[in-house]
Amino acid sequence: MKKIKLSKLVTGLLLLSLTLSGCSSKTSETVASTNKVATPKTIVIGIGNAFKPYCYLDDKGKIAGYEYEVLQEVNKLLPQYKFEYEPAEFKTILVSLGAKKVDIGAHQFEKNPDREAKYLFGGESYTTFILRIAVKKGRTDIKGIDDLKGKTVQVSPGSNDAYTLEAYNKKNNNAIKLVYSSADNATTVKSVQDGRIDAFISIKRIVDTLNKTYGDVIQTVGDPIASSSTYYVYRKEDTKLKEDIDGALKTLKANGKLSKLSVDIIGGDYTTND
C-alpha cells in the first residue's frame, strides 16, 4: 500500500517540479531521492532517557550515550533504513513497541525465556552487563551472593538485578529480603549509609561515578552475581529488521568499532560475552 502511494506521490511531484519554479526545498529533496533506488525506510527506535552512560539526555536535551552511538554506527552500515529516535522511559519503550509506536527498543534490555514469549530479541548482543553487589565502603561481611541471605537488598522493578535475585530467592526459600524502589541514586546511597538496606546491585562503572559524585561511599564486593548480555528488542514479526541489525552488529564487532565505542563511552570493553 505504502509503495503505491509513494510512487504516485513521486510522479506527481516530478511533474509539478518541472512546471513550477521556486520549489520548496522539500519538493526538491523528494525529487532528488527518486534518483536513489528506494527511499530509506524510517525505523523508530525507542531509546532510554535517564540511564547514564548508556542512554540519557545531554545538557541541550539531545540524546546521547552508548546506545545512541552504537545505533548510529549500525545505521551507517544499513543505508536502507533511516533511524529516528524517541527517548522514553524504560517501561514505556516496551509498551510503545507493542503498540507499534516504535520499532526497536534500546535500553540495555536483557533476554530470558519469559520475555522471549512476547518479544523478539536480537541474536547478537552488544553489551555485557556485569552486575555486582554494592555495599557501604568498609563493610566486610558481605562477599558474595550467598552472604546476602537474611540481608536487605534494594532493587528496581523491571531490572535484571531484580530478576536475578528473584530467581535466587526461588531456589533459596526467599532468603534475601528484596526492597523494591524507584529511589534515585542519592536516596539509594543514603539508605546504604544509614544501614536501612545492606546492599544494592550495580555495575562497576556506575559505582565509580557514584563515588566521584558523593565522595568515597560505596564499594563493590565479590564476584559478579550475573553477567548477562543485552540485546535490542523487536516485535515478533520484524524478523528481517532483526537479521539486518544482527548482521551490522557482527560487522561492528569484527572491525573493532563496537569495542572502541564501549571503551570510550562506558569505560571498558564490555562487548564480548563472559
Binding site: 503498540a99 507499534k100 519469559d114 531490572s159
Partner: protein, 236 residues
C-alpha cells in the same frame, strides 16, 4: 497487539495485595488533612493575627512544590534529624528501623493539609455572612457558631471536593515508591519484572484504582444527598 490476559490476572492479584498500602496512604493523610486543614482554613478566613500569615505561607509553599520533593526532604531531613535526637536521648532504635510508610504518611499528610485547607477555605467563604451575624445575635460564641451553624453548611459543598482529594491521594500514593514504599501501581509493575509485560501490569493497576474510586464516588454521592437536607435546595 496481543494482550496477555492471564498475566494481567497475575498482576491484578499483586495489585490487590498492595491495595491496603495505598488505602492507608490515602485515608490517613485525608483525615489529618481535614482536621488540620480546617484549622488552617479557619485561621486564614478569620484572619487570626500571626497564624493567618503563617498558614498562608505554608499553603502556598506546600502547594507549589512537587510531592516527590516533600517526600525526599522528609526522607533525608527527618531521618537525619531523628538519628540526631535518638543519639541525644540514647534511644535504641535508629531511623533505619522505622518503616518508611510512616515517613510517606507524614509527607503526604503535609501535602494534604495544604490542599484540603484550600477546599475548606472555599467552603467557609461560601456561607452567607448573615449566618454568622444571626448566630452571634442570639448569643452564640465563635466556636458554637462554627461547629453548629457554619461547618454543617459547608459539608454539601466540601464533600465532592474531598472525594476528589481522596482520589488524588489514592492515585498519588504511587509517588511513595521513591522511598521504597510499594503501592498498587508499583506492586503490579513489579510482577512484570521477569516478562516485561508492563502494559498488562498497568491495566491491572488501572482496574484496581478505578473500582476503588467508584466505591469512593458512591459513598461521596450518598453523603452528599444525606447532607443536602440542611440546605434549602440548589440554584439549578
Amino acid at each position: 497487539m496481543e494482550f496477555d490476559f492471564n498475566f494481567m490476572i497475575v498482576a491484578l492479584k499483586a495489585a490487590i495485595k498492595f491495595t491496603p498500602v495505598s488505602l492507608v496512604l490515602a485515608f490517613v493523610p485525608l483525615v489529618i488533612g481535614i482536621i488540620l486543614g480546617t484549622f488552617v482554613a479557619i485561621t486564614r478566613v478569620y484572619k487570626v493575627k500571626v497564624l493567618c500569615k503563617l498558614s498562608q505561607i505554608y499553603v502556598v509553599i506546600i502547594k507549589g512544590i512537587p510531592v516527590s520533593l516533600i517526600l525526599l526532604i522528609m526522607y533525608f531531613g527527618l531521618i537525619q534529624g531523628f538519628d540526631v535526637i535518638a543519639e541525644l536521648f540514647h534511644w535504641t532504635i535508629r531511623s533505619k528501623d522505622i518503616d518508611l510508610i510512616y515517613v510517606a504518611i507524614i509527607g503526604l499528610s503535609i501535602y494534604a493539609i495544604a490542599t484540603i485547607s484550600e477546599i475548606i477555605r472555599g467552603g467557609l467563604m461560601s456561607v452567607d455572612e448573615g449566618q454568622y451575624e444571626a448566630s452571634y445575635s442570639v448569643g452564640m460564641s465563635k466556636t458554637q457558631t462554627l461547629s453548629r451553624i457554619i461547618l454543617p453548611q459547608i459539608f454539601p459543598v466540601v464533600v465532592p471536593m474531598l472525594c476528589s482529594s481522596l482520589i488524588g491521594l489514592f492515585k498519588g500514593s504511587s509517588v511513595a515508591f521513591l522511598i521504597s514504599v510499594t503501592d498498587v501501581m508499583n506492586g503490579a509493575l513489579i510482577t512484570a519484572t521477569g516478562n516485561y509485560l508492563f502494559l498488562e501490569a498497568y491495566v491491572a493497576a488501572a482496574i484496581v484504582y478505578w473500582v476503588i474510586c467508584i466505591i469512593f464516588e458512591r459513598v461521596s454521592y450518598i453523603l452528599e444527598k444525606h447532607l443536602k437536607q440542611y440546605g434549602k435546595g440548589v440554584a439549578l
